[in-house]
Amino acid sequence: MIKPWKLCLLTMGMLIGLTVSAFPEDTTRIHVTILTASNFGSDFNLENDAFRDQLLNLFSYTSYNQTDKFFIDLPRAKRQSRTLPGGYEFILTLQNKESGRILVQAVIRKGGQQYVDTVLSILNPGVVFLGGPPVEKGVLILVLETGY
């Protein structure tokens, strides 16, 4: 029969192990919002109203539609891929994480063509707008948010 104090220690150890494995130290979560901007109409279909003012200040399009949003958990040195509207593929890779900054590689490609390959050093929290890939009746704008 296991003594109570040993059982207690074992339970605590299991709990600590589960906690650490659920949140690996080198994992970073990035919030990605996918928008389609165009000059057809004047719709503003956005869940986050804070984007509205920013988009009006930054770009000259008349219509913005939010088509998707998701979180990407980035373990170190492992590519995470998502499919975007228009047949694009969005690939994020966490290259490094230190001193409150994350080093992320972002790639957008379609078929055999690479639209952008960029490496960003982002101070948490940070916001990056990544846009330009053309889709039907507009362009894609990706809003990357870290540390929020």
């Binding site: 920013q54 200040n57 490496v119 707008f129």
Partner: protein, 129 residues
């Protein structure tokens, strides 16, 4: 003798004819009529039509008298104009640093904007290049 008298007569007739043709008063009148027909007359104001130009010249002369430097080349500026860099706008260190950016479809544009205390970085890819 008769020829000499005829020559004098002819000469006198010729001189009378030329004198009549070159009648000064009639000639002057015809000249004036010609000028009025084909050239504008002297304006009603006369010399006063040049008054605005004279005023402008006087103003320029006064300005030059007040500050002759306006006629000279501007002095060279020893200290170049200060341009705030991203570090000065957003503080050390910059919120987003682009380590590398490559596009196979066209040029890219990167700029950062200060928006309500939250700096935003925009990366734009231009297709079709």
């Amino acid at each position: 003798m008769a020829n000499g008298r005829n020559n004098d007569e002819i000469k006198r007739l010729y001189q009378d004819y030329v004198a009549k043709e070159l009648d000064r008063s009639r000639l002057l009148q015809e000249k004036d009529d010609f000028l009025k027909a084909y050239f504008a007359g002297w304006p009603l104001l006369g010399v006063l039509q040049f008054l605005p130009s004279l005023v402008l010249i006087v103003m320029i002369a006064v300005l030059v008298w007040i500050d002759p430097r306006i006629l000279h080349h501007p002095e060279k500026i020893s200290t170049p104009a200060m341009i705030l860099t991203t570090r000065e706008v957003f503080g050390e260190p910059p919120p987003v640093v682009i380590k590398r950016i490559v596009s196979r479809t066209g040029p890219t544009l990167v700029y950062q904007k200060h928006y309500e205390k939250h700096p935003i970085t925009i990366i734009w890819i231009f297709s079709g290049g």
